[in-house]
Symmetry: C2
Subunit: 138 residues, 2 copies
């Protein structure tokens, strides 16, 4: 379903998702049309979900990033899950195992906005916030 050639293609796209099919074809010694067909197939299958740009958030005026764990109040989980999409600050949200059931990654301009967000999240459950200091690796 996804063979070694497909994996090579994915590896290249992980490095540079804007590479042209022609250049990608040269990298892996295949014709451009074959590469295109494989990529299309993976898009159709859902193996490839999206192509995104990664930005320097500090340069865009967002000085704070944090992880927030929430222990949602009993019976409120469904409501919380629905509400989460309405927060533009939340860049990632996951249900997780353990004593706390929601894990958020948030991107925020400054301390004041973080405080406001936490005030709102407190209606959902008990929160536990970890500020991100630096990214490791890359």
């Amino acid at each position: 379903m996804v063979d070694d050639i497909d994996k090579k293609i994915l590896q290249e796209l992980k490095d540079n998702a804007r590479i042209s099919f022609a250049n990608l074809a040269r990298e892996i010694n295949l014709s451009p049309s074959a590469v295109r067909e494989r990529v299309q197939k993976m898009e159709d299958l859902g193996v490839i979900q999206n192509y995104v740009v990664q930005t320097d958030n500090k340069m865009l005026g967002y000085d704070l990033e944090a992880f927030i764990l929430i222990k949602v109040f009993p019976g409120k989980l469904k409501h919380v899950i629905q509400s989460i999409t309405e927060f533009p600050e939340i860049t990632e949200a996951h249900r997780i195992t353990g004593n706390q059931n929601i894990h958020l990654k948030v991107l925020i301009k400054d301390q004041i906005h973080l405080q406001k967000l936490l005030d709102q999240l407190m209606d959902f459950g008990d929160t536990n916030t970890f500020l991100i200091l630096t990214r490791i690796g890359d």
Copy 2:
């Protein structure tokens, strides 16, 4: 330094990083060359860091994702930070504030591999693992 037009460009690239400059130009009513210049400038400034593909990890044979918090043993932090890049399972790593000082996101084939990883990480400090059940939103 980054104006409203640049922000529009970034928004489009967040949706689809493989869009052509020509199409992007049509979306925001600018000439292709102007769009290209702006993108180039943002790449040079470091505002745009990278273009990446997002994949369905389950379809690629990785059934488990987890967050792992580590309270690193005293004096070992520098060593841990250097070692982290050598784990292919670790897809994201951050230094964080709080009682625990490292936050990892890991991508793993199955429980056996998770166990192996946790055994290795236990040399770094006390670990706290949260399995990811589902992604919320999107």
